[in-house]
């Protein structure tokens, strides 16, 4: 079975402060996200990490997912500073909304089959409170063609509180992809967000998860060249990317850089998945590609092949399971696992 985890966001790879747009002036790692709301969202640090703050009504941030699929399950921790009518979460096929979670003036939560308030599926009886963190999970599943039916399930703090489906009136021949799929998520309104996961498939609930961030802490296979010195991992382990200040580079096909990584602290529970990110570019004309590899020899499994451009972008790869065992990572198994990169062409 292929991995269901397709994207995760801890916000820990970003410098704090106001974000301008999606990439140009803000933290470049944000090539993951886009927004036209320059200066109206920020990365905030608190005692347990970092979160994103949308600071103005009508502000949206968007993430185009890697693949089109008929169903997704999305989880996110959210805090609404002031209860007011607002769209909170929307999922799209390109620009066509096909599922939304919105907040009402009384703090109740509404599920809609299109954008917020359009093709309403249902509204919760109880309300959420201003200024309190909640963990929301939403399953969205599409069926049919003319018209598309949207089925949604909402969980808050692990408890299913709303479900239903509706005929949206949307014909899939009017969608950009011309099929019954979703490929883009967005968050809006004045809200604080953290611990975001996106799984492919309906009802793929991970539960109230926390996302940590760890970085390389040792060289195992030093097949790339250092921009300075002879130790690779210290050039790629900064908390916030230093771009061309320190980096590793390589031209030769097949060359690998494999690193050991910081250990996770022991905890009782489950690792629901991991996301490995590499911020990379090429330095001249001509095409270049690489893969993210797993294991001491880099052969346990590999990511899709990433063709890089001339600017730094975060390329990421998700795994549900330890490829060596086929079951979820244990803490000890994860701590012992090397990950790295390999030049493909």
């Amino acid at each position: 079975m292929s991995d269901v985890l397709t994207f995760a966001e801890s916000w820990t790879a970003y410098t704090t402060g106001t974000v301008n747009g999606g990439a140009s002036n803000g933290p470049i790692f944000l090539a993951r996200w886009t927004s036209t709301a320059n200066g109206q969202w920020s990365i905030i640090a608190d005692s347990i990490g970092q979160y994103a703050e949308l600071t103005a009504s009508g502000v949206s941030i968007f993430k185009t997912l890697r693949t089109h699929n008929a169903a997704y399950t999305v989880g996110f921790r959210v805090r609404i500073p002031t209860i007011a009518v607002t769209s909170l979460f929307t999922i799209y096929n390109n620009a066509q909304a096909l599922g939304a979670v919105s907040i009402n003036a009384d703090g109740t939560v509404t599920l809609s089959g299109q954008s917020a308030g359009v093709s309403v599926i249902g509204t919760t009886n109880e309300s959420i409170h201003a200024g309190k963190w909640y963990y929301f999970e939403v399953s969205i599943s599409l069926t049919g063609t003319t018209n598309i039916n949207v089925a949604m399930i909402l969980k808050i703090n692990g408890s299913q509180i709303l479900s239903g489906n509706i005929n949206t009136g949307v014909n899939n021949t009017n969608l950009t992809s011309r099929d019954t799929t979703l490929n883009r998520i967005g968050f809006a309104g004045v809200a604080h967000l953290r611990d975001i996961y996106v799984n492919i498939g309906a009802s793929q609930f991970d539960g109230d998860i926390t996302i940590r961030a760890i970085r390389p802490d040792g060289d195992l296979t030093s097949g790339w060249i250092c921009s300075t010195g002879t130790t690779e991992y210290v050039l790629v382990n900064e908390n916030f990317s230093d771009f061309d200040t320190t980096y590793v580079y390589q031209t030769a096909t097949g060359s690998q850089a494999i690193w050991s990584w910081q250990d996770l602290p022991t905890f009782s529970g489950t690792i629901k998945g991991i996301q490995i990110s590499i911020m990379a570019r090429k330095d001249d004309e001509g095409s270049k590609s690489f893969e993210i590899v797993t294991g001491t020899t880099g052969t346990e499994t590999a990511s899709p092949e990433f063709f890089v451009g001339d600017d730094y972008i975060a390329y990421f790869h998700c795994q549900d399971n330890d490829p060596a065992t086929g079951v979820p990572y244990t803490v000890s198994g994860f701590n012992a696992k090397p990950f790295g990169i390999k030049v493909i062409s």
Partner: protein, 261 residues
């Protein structure tokens, strides 16, 4: 060898005058100094929907390859590339538009009415990030027989490459455009227009149709600057904390009796 190659390094910074086969919009197509790829300058257009930079060498082409460094600051259904037959004011010159969608995918639309021909789907670009863009186009005349009448329609086939890999190949789309109604009367184009909040460099025009044909092939190295793993932890040992207990009694006090809690 490209038919035309322009790295804009001989242009003065500022507005783009007519320059050989290139003509910039007088007000909004500008050259901006830059150290992109360590050399040269790039052609840039300001945020104006009517700004444009047009390539036309006076010839008509049936098939061609555009190869260019490109980045785009807006993905809201913006057309960033257009192929034309003839000039504005002489019928409907627009025969092919290429659009960046809100999800950062790329769509190809044909004819002047924007008939959908294909979308790059899961292949997306990144805003404000340089990409190497290759566009292979082939125009053809397609006879349509209806009874005893044959009309010849314009056929359009487009393949788009991004950073060295093909992301969209539409095959041939038959448009509603009669070839006889086109300005040249032939299934060809003579103008390429770059437009709408996009930035261009290393412009190369050729009739080759091989993916990844760089005008000046380099030997690039991969650079990796930051690595990160984000594990999703689901803790099963969370404890519930209770901080305060309270019972609130709803008492009917009609007997004037007082209860103590």
């Amino acid at each position: 060898m490209a038919i035309y190659y322009q790295n804009f390094e001989t242009f003065a910074v500022g507005a783009i005058p007519p320059y050989g086969s290139l003509t910039g919009n007088a007000n909004n197509a500008t050259i901006v100094a830059d150290n992109y790829l360590e050399t040269g300058s790039r052609a840039a257009q300001t945020a104006n929907n009517f700004s444009s930079l047009t390539y036309s060498d006076g010839s008509l082409y049936t098939s061609a390859t555009l190869y260019v460094a490109w980045k785009h600051s807006e993905a809201n259904n913006q057309t960033f590339l257009q192929y034309e037959n003839g000039t504005a004011g002489s019928g409907f010159p627009n025969i092919l538009t290429i659009v960046q969608e809100p999800d950062n995918s790329i769509s190809v639309k044909v004819d002047n009415n924007g008939t959908f021909a294909g979308n790059s789907g899961d292949h997306i670009t990144n805003l404000n990030i340089w990409h190497w863009l290759q566009v292979n186009t082939t125009f053809s005349a397609i006879p349509i027989v209806s009874g005893t009448t044959t009309t010849t329609k314009l056929g359009v086939a487009v393949e788009i490459g991004l950073d060295g890999t093909s992301i969209l190949n539409t095959g041939t789309t038959t448009t509603n455009r009669n070839v006889s109604s086109m300005n040249s009367g032939t299934a060809q184009f003579d103008r390429i227009v770059l437009l709408n909040n996009s930035i261009w460099d290393e412009f190369s025009f050729d009739v080759l149709q091989t993916m990844n044909t760089y005008p000046n092939p380099g030997v690039p190295a991969m650079r990796a600057t930051t690595a990160l793993i984000e594990p999703l932890e689901l803790v099963d040992s969370a404890a519930i904390r209770a901080s305060t207990g309270l019972i609130e009694l709803l008492i009917s006090n009609k007997n004037k009796r007082v209860y103590e809690m």
